[in-house]
């Protein structure tokens, strides 16, 4: 495992490649060569070379598809579309295996019916993190919250409303910068944040109720600890991404348990 982690990491050491990877990952969907090249301000052939290196390293996946809907002779070759690979790359030196530990602990929680203790522990940890975050930077704004979620790997995007699908592709990226736009904020124009990435994905697949219940309490604790009482966290699973959605409460009641 460590070997593949090092390989993946070394592929990202090339700066342009890393910007391409970040652009595709932040985009959240499929990206064409032309889009990626424009985003990082590189020639298309150069971008294509690096995109394919990222595919070889298992960091991106590629699909060939005709995008224009044209068919038959003369309709051109299928375009290569890139998206972030679902494969996980871990690098722990010295070698560590927290994934197995997490799965075994989740299994034990399930067998013992110890969800209540897990939820309490997660909520307390969330409150500590929220309090530490609030102590760092004063009052918590929606931008702070989105920034915290982004830094902790949740990849928040604006959902149009309850049950909304993934947010529209972020076309707000400045051409040539390859940098993601600022994270979405739950404001009047953005009533809810969907979390595009689940930091506990493997556990959420092997032990969904345990992992998602833990994650929910962690985020509820975070909101409470940060004094972000005008936001609430709820379970709202979608086909992809995190099972929790964060929304602004219209009447800013305290986040109920």
């Amino acid at each position: 495992m460590t070997g593949t982690g090092i390989d993946a990491l070394s592929v990202l050491a090339e700066p342009l490649r890393r910007r391409l990877y970040e652009y595709v990952a932040d985009h959240g969907g499929e990206v064409s060569r032309a889009q990626a090249a424009e985003a990082v301000g590189a020639r298309r052939t150069l971008a294509a070379f690096h995109l394919d290196k990222l595919v070889e390293a298992g960091l991106l996946e590629v699909e060939r598809r005709k995008v224009s809907g044209r068919e038959g002779p003369g309709s051109g070759r299928p375009a290569k579309l890139y998206r972030r690979s679902r494969r996980e790359h871990a690098l722990h030196l010295p070698p560590r295996d927290y994934g197995t530990a997490a799965a075994l602990l989740a299994e034990a929680v399930d067998r013992a019916g110890a969800e209540e203790a897990l939820h309490a522990a997660a909520r307390e940890e969330g409150e500590r993190r929220g309090a530490a975050h609030a102590a760092d930077g004063g009052p918590v704004s929606s931008a702070d919250l989105a920034g915290w979620l982004e830094r902790h790997g949740y990849e928040p995007v604006c959902a149009e409303g309850p049950g909304a699908g993934p947010a529209a592709p972020q076309e707000t990226t400045a051409p040539g910068s390859g940098r993601p736009s600022p994270p979405a904020e739950p404001t009047a124009g953005c009533p809810a944040l969907r979390l595009r990435n689940c930091p506990f994905d493997a556990l959420a697949r092997s032990h969904p109720p345990v992992a998602c219940g833990m994650n929910l309490e962690l985020l509820r604790g975070l909101l409470h600890g940060a004094g972000a009482g005008s936001f609430q966290a709820d379970i709202a699973p979608a086909a992809e991404g995190c099972c929790v959605v964060i929304s602004s409460e219209p009447d800013s009641k305290n986040n109920s348990h």
Partner: protein, 159 residues
């Protein structure tokens, strides 16, 4: 297209009568969650009491035992409904309403598409899983088995 469907049965021991105040939130979720199942991709069938839209009255396995018994197109469709819809929230809160069971409480098995499984069959599969662990005749999400190939009969278990 597989010519087999996936049957699943799971049982839960109620912490209080279903009309008790402590069960009100669970009772209120029955209709919406059942409707969600009915409209989920890959849903084929679910057991209901005669003349009812849910399975909370007859209690074929015991007075305090609720039975959830359904058929799905495949493992993926059952998984997606179970864990990637609002049904997950009911699961997350299950300890509020149901006792923890020492025994395996969920079994699944393949049936020929078009056949409706019986309660006795469900009970047998659950007992088989408890007695012998996961096998093609009775398995779980954690230890799944593929559907039988087209030219072999579905795994049979007495009952």
């Amino acid at each position: 297209m597989s010519d087999h469907h996936l049957a699943q049965i799971n049982v839960g021991v109620l912490k209080a009568p279903i009309d008790a105040p402590s069960m009100a939130e669970f009772a209120a979720l029955l209709d919406p969650v059942n409707a969600l199942a009915d409209s989920s991709p890959g849903f084929v069938w679910r057991y209901t009491d005669e003349g009812s839209n849910d399975a909370t009255a007859a209690r074929p396995f015991g007075d305090d035992i609720l039975v959830n018994f359904s058929v799905w197109r495949d493992r993926e469709s059952l998984w997606n409904f179970t864990y990637r819809t609002d049904h997950l929230d009911t699961l997350r809160r299950r300890r509020e309403w149901f006792h923890r069971l020492e025994d395996m409480h969920l079994a699944m098995w393949w049936i020929p598409a078009g056949r409706i499984p019986t309660l006795d069959e469900g009970r047998t599969r659950l007992e088989l899983l408890r007695a012998e662990g996961p096998s093609p005749e009775a398995f779980t999400f954690a230890a799944p088995f593929p559907p039988p190939a087209a030219d072999e009969p579905a795994a049979t278990a007495a009952g």
